[in-house]
């Protein structure tokens, strides 16, 4: 991968990167030392990293039918309330926060690094770093067997972001909002198609009632709609196969996941990439405004907290509520709503994400729980390690080749596992960083990027 040793230039080609922070080596391309890190960013990243597990845990530990059982079940009980809280307050927002920080991190990586003539540019290190990230994502999905991996997409999105890094925050917000608008149009478009299908179905059914002979198109319309309704209901054959496979050994789950992982990476990258890009652009803008580096006034953070939660949460509740209505009553829903409730999902996500970020910043600034903030900063500093560790811990806990708890816990019980992992990661990160500069996977990633073994011990 690396070739700076053979570029034919006469200069010394060793990259200075030792921990002699503050010495005259600041200007070269090298990893950031610990002293330079911005604590508030690490803290938010820690929150996002731990928060992501809240959204991922159902994916790790429970069959997708849980969704069905909760949505058709009574709107009471521990499972329902857990589901409601997680969905209304957190759905998509932790990934959003993480994406924002990824965008901010890109600007950070490119800043304060100066080019040396005849040597690989900062941009090249940046792209090498992202290529490795893509590879780590593939490993996380296909080897560690976590189909919900996001590293793959982050790597690819990061390659696009580069071209936008010099834009002013205002323009970045404009671009982000354009992405949102694009997503909204697409959702509305899809919804229109659903409604068209519904309309032709209703017409065909009316004709059928009048005992008229149906045209092939009308028969097709009926078939299409009923199949769509059927596909939303759980299929016991598929569920049972899933449960059986998930209790099997590594090899079986490995092959079982290959098409799922490949399909997911294709579909998500091509169709849902907006979801990540929006947040990354916003993150870049917020970083440039000083939001994440604790440079805004308390009142500003306060205002964003109120705006974010004040508008975001009601929308989130409406979406959650409508979700119940539409579930299993697709036809009724399509008849009565000309626009899907999901159209505003992206705004809700942005607003609540900013609300979360402001809240963390306010707590950080107030200094009320310094020990927790420190621990969170440690988690955030080792975000890459902790993210992969979540895959390792959870797959080993739930999958058949580990403890095999897959689908054996109730929905709310999954969150006991989340708490356990959180506590473990908070403690582990704090202890690890007492002895080492980077998390183990951060170290590996950096060493691969600079193609040179990085110093590890403090």
């Amino acid at each position: 991968m690396d070739q700076h040793n053979s570029s034919g230039t006469p200069q010394s080609l060793v990259i200075p990167m030792q921990g002699t922070a503050g010495a005259g080596e600041q200007s070269t391309v090298r990893p950031v030392t610990r002293a330079e890190r911005i604590k508030s960013i690490d803290t938010i990243r820690g929150v996002a990293l731990l928060g992501i597990l809240m959204m991922n845990i159902p994916g790790f530990g429970i069959n997708w039918d849980f969704w069905n059982s909760i949505l058709t079940g009574p709107r009471a009980g521990k499972d329902y309330y857990t589901f409601a809280i997680v969905f209304v307050f957190f759905e998509g927002t932790m990934r959003g926060l993480f994406s924002m920080l990824f965008g901010a991190g890109m600007v950070l990586f490119m800043q304060n690094k100066h080019e040396l003539p005849g040597r690989p540019t900062v941009a090249e290190y940046y792209y090498r770093r992202l290529l490795w990230l893509v590879l780590f994502g593939v490993i996380n999905a296909f080897v560690l067997l976590w189909p919900g991996d996001i590293l793959f997409f982050y790597g690819l999105c990061g390659m696009l972001l580069f071209a936008f890094r010099k834009l002013s925050p205002k323009w970045l917000v404009v671009i982000a909002l354009t992405c949102v608008a694009f997503g909204m149009v697409k959702k509305q478009w899809d919804w229109n198609e659903t409604r068209e299908k519904r309309e032709s179905y209703t017409e065909a059914m009316a004709a059928k009632k009048e005992k008229k002979e149906l045209t092939p198109e009308q028969q097709g319309a009926i078939k299409m709609w009923t199949e769509m309704e059927k596909s939303q209901k759980p299929d016991t054959a598929i569920t049972n196969e899933n449960l059986r496979k998930m209790q099997s050994g590594y090899g079986t789950i490995f092959t079982y996941f290959i098409p799922r992982n490949a399909g997911g990476e294709i579909w998500y990258m091509y169709n849902e990439v907006w979801d990540l890009l929006v947040m990354m652009f916003l993150g870049m803008a917020l970083y440039l405004w000083g939001f994440f580096s604790n440079r805004l006034r308390t009142s500003t953070y306060m205002m964003w907290l109120l705006i974010g939660y004040g508008i975001g949460v009601p929308i989130a509740w409406a979406i959650f509520d409508k979700g119940f209505m539409s579930f299993g009553r697709m036809g009724l829903y399509a008849d009565s709503w000309s626009s899907s409730h999901m159209v505003f999902a992206e705004f809700r996500r942005i607003l609540i994400t900013i609300g979360h970020a402001s809240l963390v910043m306010l707590i950080f600034r107030s200094g009320i729980i310094p020990w927790l903030m420190r621990a969170l900063a440690n988690v955030g500093q080792m975000a890459f390690t902790n993210y992969l560790m979540q895959s390792i811990l959870c797959t080993l806990f739930f999958y058949g080749y580990g403890l095999g708890y897959y689908n054996k816990l109730k929905f709310h019980q999954l969150y006991y596992v989340v708490f356990a992992v959180w506590i473990f990661q908070l403690i582990f990160s704090s202890i690890w960083l007492r002895y080492f500069r980077f998390g183990p996977f951060e170290w590996l990633w950096r060493s691969l990027t600079y193609w040179k073994k990085q110093p590890m011990k403090l």
Binding site: M1, S7, G8, E124, M159, F162, E265
Partner: protein
Amino acid sequence: MSLHPSTPSGTAPDQVIANEPVNLSRLFSLDVLRGIALLGILVISIWEFGGFTSNEQTFFRQGTHGGNYKLLSIVSILFEGKMRALFALVFGAGIILFMQKKEHPVPLAAPDAYIRRQIWLIIFGVFNAFVLLWPGDILFQYGVVGILLFAFWRMPARGLLIAAILCTLIYCGKQYWNYADDKKGYKKFLAVTAVEKKFKQDSTVRAKKDSFDRTKDTVLLKDTLAKNKLMDSLARKNDTLTKKQAGEKGMWEGMIKDLKYDSSKTVAENKAIRASYGKVWKHLMQRSQNKESNWLYRTGVWDISSMMLLGMALLGFGFFNHRMASSRYVLIAVLALAIGFTLAWFRIHFQSIKLADYARYIEKYPVPFNQFFPIERMLLATGYASLVMLLLRSKFLNWLWQALAATGKMALTNYIMQTIICTFFFYGYGFGYFGRLQQWQLYFMVAEIALVQIVFSVFWLRYFTMGPLEWLWRCLIYRKWLPWKIKEPHAITDSPAL
């Protein structure tokens, strides 16, 4: 991706390191090769533009004789995949040239200019696919893969060559993997049919017993027959295929059906394309999306990156600027063409066997017919490039090379122009000739378009320094209106090359 930094340059003249400046912002040979690739691409694209679909091709391939079959085979051996490969080869070399360019019209770091160039290419590709309605577009994929390969441009030529070979091998592996999936599907199908056969046998046995019982004239005949009937209905209930088995059977049967020529498919496709813009748009939408997502992820990324990496390596070895001895070019051409054509011939041969009876093919052959296609096209593209390099050296047919270089300089313009001409000629909102021309007529069409493009390019470049889309591309990259008219007769042309 050599782990150990290779020895510095100077060991041999052809082991020059890629990042040693070539001192030419534009290589004549690359323009010529790009022009050839660009015109050659249409020989294959015209199949899809003009309605000579794979279904129609199957019709001839299942016959394995006749003029149309021979023509199709020859074109497939000479052109299919090779021209695209050559295009990617030149594109790869262009990456390094672009990165080494010292002068930009506005002060902009090379990486920034490069990434913007790629992103605009992606956008051109989306436009070509979804607005001009060409699902076979490759600009999108070139844009994406070019970004992925950015981190490699400084790699020594030998490392790039190894990377190119690795990508080709992965591509071959993928071909095999798809075949292995088919094989698995066939095995499942056989298992299901065996079960079905057993059901049938059991029911014959029961029927035999029943008729035998009827011959016996006993008091209990009525009871026996009733019992037989009950047993039969119970057995029938158990003897139906499970949903999974039926699915496995249907999967294989569906695939076999897809491989067979089906005239109704042609009729449907002709109707769909000879329609209004809106209808064609809807019809091709999914195909374009599939090419940009599924194909790119599963095949394209290896298909394109292997050739781009090879192009980068060849530039480093001095292949494109005549730093190799003539004997070296001869050697490469002879070896590459000999092996490449042999592989191509076998591919055509085995493809017909597959189309005749896929089940038998699977039972008989360990690898798919296109197992070595990635190697075949890599060798042939390289072989063609060597031949052209030799001819360029001989100064023979100089006017032709000048004309082809002009075409190659305006590759983006010409590529998009092919889409515009062909969609307008074949699609319903234009002249609607889709599916109305014979195979040989399509190739005449290609020759005509090639002629038009060559003449157009030569004339255009008399008055302008670059093609219109090249100019637009460049203005977009540097966010500035740049001059493009030729004021003096010998202005230096310096447009971004595909």
